[in-house]
């Protein structure tokens, strides 16, 4: 719209010959009528001109003033190629970009498949994961080969609206979808009540021909809006599928509705045969109720994941040459210094500069107690500053924060199609084809036996065998389980793990950081030359700074480290390095014994040794405390009949001490990562094994296990190679994981049994003409509702 021709106030075109102006922002602005003039003058008079400023920003974004929705969309899409804007939602790593897109208009698995195929053919796209449960598409493309806007346009071309995922967008979409379903439901509901009432009247035989015809016309009047308006989603889906040369469950549904409506319509107009208007309206009503419930279930499943991002504020206070200034969070870059007031959420990851702070990290870990942080410690986006204002230096922003990582993982997990879901998709596609073939055969058969019944029997077959329940059976249960686990601080990275868990026979635990807290203290020390103690400590501190093992922690605090050269870290053994031309080693006894094979420990329970090539110079006893819930967890394992094994790199004495107090079945100590892997492989011959361990040191073992769990906090979360990450630091979360997996499996089995059983029984009955369209419809609807409500049970809070 050209500004010169439009009213400054209401944006409507100015009629010819009108010349009215009002001075706003020191300029004469054109008005279209005296009304606008009066309003604009009042606004200026009352000093409210900021409204015009604010509004102009709003206009460029909102669709309110551009009625041609699509034109606006095209423009918006091109804007997404802007690097600055992409920073918000695109993750780029070595020329590979990935983003989550929110897609509007997806209603079933077939839609997901269609989008997957369409994008798969698009040049430059490397990977597409479509999640019909959350209506999201996760797409990875080669930066430079294609643009985000052309990906979005490709999705538009097949009739879905797609935009990069932003929280508010998705919620608004859901709300719009929900409202549209409610409206369609309302129309179908009212119409079905009316048509049912009329149908009851028609059951009486003594009704005269004129009244009967009148009733038919009344029913037609009520059914028409249902057919035209309420049934649209089914027709659209069916059409989409057919256009992509595929089939989905909306195809038989649409066929049934179209047949029933037009046959009834024909009967009404020609005054012959039967009418089934009440079938059309009630079928639509029940199907829509099912879809509506499914929508609610999906909404429930994603709100949890989405809620995380809501917490992040949009504005932060940044330190500049002119003092503290409010800036947009999206403009923050690493090394900016920002200030957070008490009670405010932290917008980015960073390092604390203030002396001390209390942070509530409940959003990230589920742990509700505030955590004390000291200068130099990492503070995560999404946590809430509790007490005093704090200052921090930004380290990670946008998509790179821990919180964004968690959300990404949750999205990915919901986006994966576990084998069981893939199978169900596959089955229902063939099922639809089979239904259509059987329906045609039925029609032919009845055409020769009793032509007047042929149409209604086919109708019953189409309706009764709709594989709605079948296609809902697994996805609803899986998303229910994933969301349930997320709520209790258990992050699933591989949805498949839910299927693997119930078969597990052996549980392997790492000791340090898994059964114990991994918080070490030095309890005893021995020095060859007591006078050299402080020098030994400084060397130890220097060496341990290059170790990632938790046992290294207390040494770093012991003394100020000396300068070090030629550092070499051998995971599972220790660290070697040169100080002032002398080579030192710190680590396990075995590590030091490589230099001095005859060496024995001067202190019985020592576990960290410092030596030169000449001999041992110091040793320490460093110990760790058990996790509070380790005993409960192991007792539970025993009760469930799991074989429990401890795999540790620690010495035998210390490993045995822990194993005895926890009553583990098997203990393997003094293991290097390779040894752990070998033992695990051997154990796998006897049955599936789950490994519970530490994300970085045990990475190969975790990858080998049938299922793996890590405790992660902080930056290692995203890299750790496990299937499941426990965020709340509780060992007993494993118990909940097992329970949920078992329940999910049970629910999926129940759903499949029900869906297949029901369809199997009803099909022959319908083919033989024993089931009328009305009963077929009632049965089909009940079947879907049973499956959905069964899956929703997984979302319910369980008592622990």
């Amino acid at each position: 719209m050209n500004k010169e021709q439009a009213c400054f106030h209401c944006f409507q075109p100015i009629p010819k010959g009108v010349d009215i102006t009002v001075e706003v922002f020191g300029e004469a602005q054109p008005m279209c009528c005296y009304g606008c003039q009066a309003v604009a003058e009042t606004i200026v008079d009352q000093g409210l001109t900021h409204f015009y400023k604010y509004r102009e920003v709003d206009d460029s974004q909102g669709p309110a003033l551009i009625p041609e929705e699509l034109a606006g969309l095209d423009e918006a899409v091109t804007a997404y190629d802007d690097a600055e804007i992409q920073k918000e939602f695109v993750l780029t790593q070595n020329d590979h970009s990935s983003a989550s897109l929110a897609v509007e208009g997806m209603t079933c698995a077939a839609c997901a498949w269609l989008i997957e195929r369409q994008l798969g053919n698009h040049a430059g796209i490397e990977k597409v994961v479509v999640n019909a449960t959350t209506d999201r598409v996760h797409v990875t493309w080669a930066a430079g080969k294609t643009k985000l806007s052309s990906i979005l346009k490709a999705i538009h071309q097949i009739g879905y609206k797609a935009l990069p995922f932003q929280q508010a967008d998705l919620e608004e979409q859901y709300e719009r979808k929900r409202r549209s379903y409610i409206r369609r439901l309302g129309v179908a509901g009212i119409a079905s009540m009316q048509t049912m009432m009329v149908a009851v009247g028609l059951y009486y035989d003594d009704i005269d021909a004129t009244t009967r015809l009148y009733f038919w016309w009344v029913s037609l009047l009520f059914s028409a809006p249902v057919f035209v308006y309420s049934c649209q989603p089914f027709f659209q889906n069916a059409w989409r599928a057919i256009r992509s040369k595929s089939l989905n469950m909306d195809v038989p549904v649409s066929l049934a509705i179209i047949f029933a409506f037009f046959a009834s319509f024909y009967a009404t107009v020609t005054d012959t045969g039967d009418v089934y208007y009440e079938c059309v309206t009630m079928f639509a009503f029940f199907l829509l109720s099912g879809r509506y419930l499914e929508l609610l279930a999906r909404q429930k499943a994603i709100t949890n994941a989405a809620n995380l991002m809501k917490l992040i504020p949009a504005i932060a206070e940044k330190q500049t040459a002119e003092g503290w200034q409010k800036v947009m969070v999206k403009h923050l870059v690493p090394d900016d210094v920002i200030q957070i007031r008490p009670g405010e959420a932290i917008p980015v990851d960073g390092v604390l500069l203030s002396q001390q702070a209390w942070c509530d990290e409940a959003q990230l870990t589920g742990e509700s107690r505030p955590i004390a942080k000291r200068t130099g410690e990492t503070i995560y986006a999404g946590s809430v500053n509790q007490e005093n204002p704090l200052r921090m230096r930004v380290t990670h922003t946008h998509q790179n924060t821990l919180l964004a990582g968690i959300i990404h993982l949750q999205d990915d997990a919901l986006g994966q199609k576990p084998r069981v879901v893939q199978l169900a998709d596959h089955i229902s596609k063939y099922f639809v084809l089979a239904t259509l073939i059987i329906a045609s055969a039925t029609y032919l058969g009845w055409y020769f036996i009793a032509p007047e019944k042929a149409l209604w029997t086919v109708l019953a077959v189409l309706v009764a065998t709709c594989p709605c329940a079948l296609s809902l059976a697994a996805p609803t249960a899986m998303s229910g389980a994933v969301s349930r686990l997320n709520q209790s601080g258990i992050l699933l990275k591989q949805a498949n793990v839910l299927q693997a868990l119930p078969g597990i026979t052996t549980v392997c635990f790492d000791k340090t950081g898994t059964l114990t807290h991994g918080r070490f203290h030095i309890l005893e020390a021995w020095h060859q030359e007591t006078s050299e103690q402080s020098r030994h400590e400084a060397i130890a501190a220097a060496l341990e700074f290059s170790s990632e093992h938790p046992i290294a922690q207390p040494f770093r605090r012991l003394a100020k480290p000396v300068d070090l050269n030629e550092v070499e870290n051998t995971p599972g053994l220790g660290v070697e390095g040169r100080v002032d031309n002398t080579l030192y080693r710190i680590g396990s006894l075995a590590f030091v014994q490589q230099w001095h094979p005859q060496l024995s420990s001067p202190m019985p329970q020592a576990n960290v040794f410092l030596a030169t090539e000449q001999g041992l110079i110091a040793c320490w006893r460093v110990d760790d405390e058990l996790r509070d819930d380790a005993t409960t967890m192991l007792q539970w394992c025993k009760k469930k009949g799991f074989h429990t094994i401890m795999l540790t790199g620690d010495t035998q004495e210390r490993a045995l001490a822990v194993a005895e107090s926890l009553a583990l079945d098997e203990v393997h100590s003094a293991l290097k990562p390779d040894d752990k892997l070998a033992i695990l492989r051997k154990q796998q011959h006897q049955g599936p094994v789950i490994m519970v361990g530490d994300g970085i040191n045990d990475a190969p073992v975790l990858a080998q296990a049938d299922a793996s769990i890590t405790f992660a906090s902080g930056s290692e979360l995203a890299q750790s190679g496990s299937d499941v990450v426990i965020l709340n630091g509780e060992l007993t979360a494993i118990r909940r994981l097992f329970d949920t997996a078992k329940k999910a499996r049970l629910v999926i089995r129940q759903n499949f049994a029900w869906a297949l059983g029901y369809n199997g029984i009803i099909l022959p009955l319908a083919v033989m003409g024993y089931v009328g369209p009305l009963w077929a419809m009632l049965g089909m609807s009940t079947s879907s509702l049973i499956v959905i409500s069964n899956s929703l049970r997984l979302l319910r809070k369980q008592a622990y």
Partner: protein
């Protein structure tokens, strides 16, 4: 008042919704949307009160005139039909046809405007009501064509009733402004909606003129 007029009144209000939102919606935004719902309602009740007052005024004026000159009544009907057609054109922004009326209204408004400072929407409850009443006198082609119909009733009570119904027609768009979705707002403001409502109004106008012309014969 016959039921056809009843519908005409509500329809005029509803058809003008897009116009109302474009013109006064901005003001609602500027003055703070965070008003509580009862206050917004009170404000609108004030606005409608003014409409009713105006309706009663023109109603009684034409009640007197109709006593003197019955033929005038039929001419008035034709005039109302023409007003309806002009309104349709006005909503489409095709012509500035109703602008001369607004200009007259604007003279009245200039006298009332100083009062708007005294009674603003953020004051006490009765101030909110009074501010709403003042708003009712804003120069608006929509209101004036409604008034031409109110005049046609040639009775103070029916005139007021007609304007009440007209006001109720505009109420949803003004009351739920901010509550309704962007989609609805852009629908109401869209060219299609304006053409649609203008077409209905024009049909009404033509029908009214036809009846008037038949009565003349």
């Amino acid at each position: 008042m016959n039921p056809v007029d009843f519908w005409a009144a509500i329809l005029m209000g509803l058809a003008g919704s897009g116009h109302c939102i474009a013109m006064c919606g901005g003001l609602a935004g500027a003055m703070g949307v965070q008003q509580s719902k009862p206050r917004i309602l009170l404000y609108n009740v004030g606005r409608i009160s003014s409409y009713m007052l105006a309706g009663a005024l023109v109603g009684s004026a034409f009640f007197g005139l109709a006593q003197l000159q019955p033929q005038l009544f039929i001419w008035m009907r034709i005039f109302a039909g023409v007003m309806m057609l002009l309104l349709a054109a006005y909503l489409l922004r095709i012509t500035a046809a109703l602008l001369w009326l607004e200009r007259i209204g604007a003279i009245l408004w200039r006298r009332l405007k100083p009062l708007t400072r005294k009674y603003n929407r953020n004051g006490k409850s009765h101030h909110v009501y009074l501010a709403g009443m003042l708003w009712g006198w804003l120069p608006c082609g929509l209101v004036y064509s409604a008034l031409s119909w109110a005049a046609l009733t040639a009775s103070p009570t029916s005139g007021a009733l007609f304007m009440l119904l007209f006001g109720l027609g505009t109420l949803p768009s003004m009351l739920f402004l901010g509550m309704v979705s962007h989609t609805l707002v852009s629908l109401l403001k869209s060219t299609k909606f304006r053409w649609f409502s203008s077409a209905i109004l024009a049909t009404y106008g033509v029908a009214t003129i036809t009846i008037g012309l038949m009565q003349l014969r």
